[in-house]
Structure formats: structure tokens, C-alpha cells
Amino acid sequence: MNVTKRTLLNLIIEVAIYGALVSVYLVLVLHFLVDWLKGLSAKDPAVYAWVAILLMIAQAVGLERLASSLVQVTRRRR
């Protein structure tokens, strides 16, 4: 397999794993945190502000790290 094909395949696997993790994260947040977040935004905007930014960072950093680890595992297996 040439370099371009391998790079493209790696990117597709990476994006697929990351996409699955991001979707699971979204479903979990929508299922468990909607009412709490709604209440928090009305009652305590300052805490809501920090929770909002943490949710975004957790999704971007946490899931990205998890996805990278899973990608490395699949690369080793291949």
C-alpha cells in the first residue's frame, strides 16, 4: 500500500472512531444533563458559564485523546 493510500486510510479510521465517540458523548449529555443545564442556566449563570466551557473542552480534548489511543491500538493490530 503506498503512502497516500495509507495516510487516507488512517484518516478515515481516525475520523470514524472520533465520530462514534462524539456521537455517544452528545447522546449522553442530551439524555442526562438537559434538565440540569436548563436549571443551572436560569439559577446560576456564572456556574453555567464554566460548565458550558468545560463540556466543550471535555468533548474536544478528552474524546480526541481517547480516539488517538484507540487509533493506535487499531494500527498495532493491523
Binding site: 475520523v15 449563570p45 473542552i57 468533548q59 474536544a60 480526541e64
Partner: protein
């Protein structure tokens, strides 16, 4: 789907698709993409106060994803980003305060709008013509085998402004080895980021479509590093804006997270794509973006004028 924080019904597929498109643009060009996201969210029925705050929240997540990929590719100059953050935040606050003062006078929206349209159109024309000339110039260097395979080897057709900025004697001077700049005045970097910040404060969003070309043409930063560093800087300035807007009740984090599902994937793809394009090709593809921004502002001015 009902979003209880902002109290609106929005189609999640529409939000994911917007996020995906903006994610690719953001990862590839180093912009926040507010000039496209804001009208798209507003058109879907989200109130304007939520549009600005929610857009900023999704920019944070998307920029983190794209910046992490750019960091792996070696496209971030942390020293440059740290200096630029100071200028951007000060400029952004100045822009916000200035617009409040100007609001007391008549026709401020039309004045700011018209100036922005002229500046954005100018940037678009300049980027298009310069990158076209640079591409022709690089065709000659492509014949040299040692340069042909290095896509990050940047060529700019007009580097007089960058040279003038780099010659500025005002101390302290800093070196940016990662960007290939031996020495440049600290104040030159601060000035460029300050101007970007003012536009961000005036118009909202990250103003990456001002900052990215400014870094290339005024500071002489290679295009790939300008894209990555701009994204890194956007994380900090957009986080600051998100917290401020959320405290004022202008962020629906659930909408931002749905958009982020598409944006995270798009940003990853966009950031990875940069390694297959040379600097002039990225700049040529970038040229229509400020023009789109100008069209959005013109449309907003026209609508306000007739309402």
C-alpha cells in the same frame, strides 16, 4: 428537536451539517467561521443574542480539535500565539467599548459596516492576486528538486510589507525560530493582533479572516503556521468570549454541542488537508472567504435599512 435553554426548535441534522462545513473551513484556513454560522443559525430561528454566544462556544471546541491536529503537524508557534493573545483580548475589549461609544452617534452601523465591506473586499482581492502571482513564482522554484517536496516552503509574491514590519526597530525585539523569523519587534506583533481584536469586537466572532492574512503579509509568518497559530489563539479569545456571553445568558450549550459533533469531524479533516496544499494554494482558496463576510455585512446593512 427542542432546545430548552434557548426555547427554540431546530433540526439537529441542519446543525451538524453547518458545524461540519464550518469545521472544514476552520481547520483548513484557521478561521472561526462566524460570518457563515451566524446567518445560518439566525435563519434557522435562533434569537440573535443566542446566535453570537452559542457560535463562540462551538468555535472553542472546533478550534481545540483543529489546533491539536495542527500541533502534531508542527504548525503552531506558541511564542507568537502567546504574544498575539494579549493584543487580541485588548483589541477585542477596545472594539466592544468603541462600538458602545459610537452607538451614541448616528449611523454607526452603516459607517462600521461600510468600512468593513471595503476592508474585506480589499483583503479578498489582495489575497487572490498575490497568491496567483506567488503560484506562478513557485512554478519556477518547483523545478528545484529540494523545494518541490516541501509544501510548507512558503512563497509570497509581495513581501515588502512583511520586510518593513520586521525592520521596525522598536524594542523589545523577539525571535520566532519556529516561524523562521530571526528578529521582529514585539510591538509589531501586538499591533497586528490588536487590529484583529478590534474587528472581532466590532463585528463579533474570531476575525480570523483579518488575522490570518495579516500574519502572512504583515509579519511574514509562513501560511501553514499562520493557520495553526491563529486557531490556537482563537481557542483562548473564544473561550473568554463564551464565558462572558454565558454569564449574560446568551449561550445554549446544547445547540453548541450538537454543532460541535459535525464541526469536530470537519475540523480534523480540514486541518489534515493543509499538509497536501502549498501556502499560495491555501491563500488562493482563502480569498473568497473575506468576500463572503463582506456580502453578509452588506446584506445585514440592506435589511436593517429597509426594516
Amino acid at each position: 428537536m427542542f432546545f430548552p435553554i434557548s426555547g427554540v426548535h431546530l433540526d439537529p441534522i441542519y446543525l451538524i451539517l453547518i458545524g461540519f462545513v464550518i469545521g472544514i473551513l476552520g481547520g483548513f484556513f484557521g478561521v472561526g467561521g462566524s460570518f457563515l454560522t451566524a446567518p445560518a443559525l439566525f435563519a434557522a430561528g435562533l434569537p440573535m443574542n443566542y446566535v453570537v454566544g452559542t457560535d463562540l462556544a462551538h468555535i472553542v471546541g472546533k478550534s481545540i480539535v483543529a489546533a491539536r491536529t495542527h500541533r502534531v503537524l508542527g504548525n503552531i508557534d506558541l511564542k507568537l500565539a502567546a504574544i498575539m493573545v494579549i493584543g487580541t483580548i485588548v483589541g477585542s475589549e477596545t472594539g466592544v467599548q468603541a462600538i458602545e461609544v459610537l452607538k451614541k452617534g448616528a449611523h454607526v452601523e452603516s459607517v462600521v459596516g461600510t468600512v468593513s465591506i471595503v476592508v474585506f473586499t480589499g483583503i479578498a482581492i489582495f489575497c487572490a492576486s498575490e497568491s496567483w502571482m506567488a503560484l506562478r513564482l513557485s512554478q519556477r522554484t518547483d523545478q528545484q528538486p529540494e523545494l518541490a517536496h516541501n509544501r510548507k516552503q512558503d512563497v509570497t509574491a509581495i513581501d515588502a510589507l512583511a520586510k518593513a514590519f520586521q525592520r521596525l526597530k522598536l524594542p523589545p525585539r523577539v525571535s520566532l525560530p519556529h516561524s523562521g523569523i530571526e528578529s521582529i519587534s514585539f510591538w509589531a506583533i501586538l499591533f497586528v493582533s490588536f487590529i484583529g481584536g478590534i474587528f472581532s469586537g466590532f463585528l463579533g466572532g474570531g476575525a480570523g479572516y483579518i488575522r490570518m492574512p495579516s500574519m502572512v503579509y504583515l509579519l511574514g509568518i509562513p501560511t501553514h503556521i499562520a493557520v495553526g497559530t491563529d486557531l490556537f489563539e482563537i481557542i483562548i479569545s473564544a473561550s473568554y468570549g463564551t464565558v462572558r456571553h454565558a454569564m449574560n445568558g446568551n449561550v445554549d450549550i446544547l445547540i453548541a454541542l450538537v454543532m460541535q459533533t459535525g464541526a469536530a469531524l470537519g475540523a480534523r479533516i480540514g486541518a489534515n488537508l493543509t499538509q497536501y496544499f502549498t501556502g499560495p494554494r491555501i491563500r488562493l482558496a482563502f480569498a473568497p472567504l473575506p468576500l463572503l463576510g463582506a456580502i453578509v455585512i452588506a446584506q445585514r446593512l440592506f435589511t436593517d435599512h429597509h426594516s
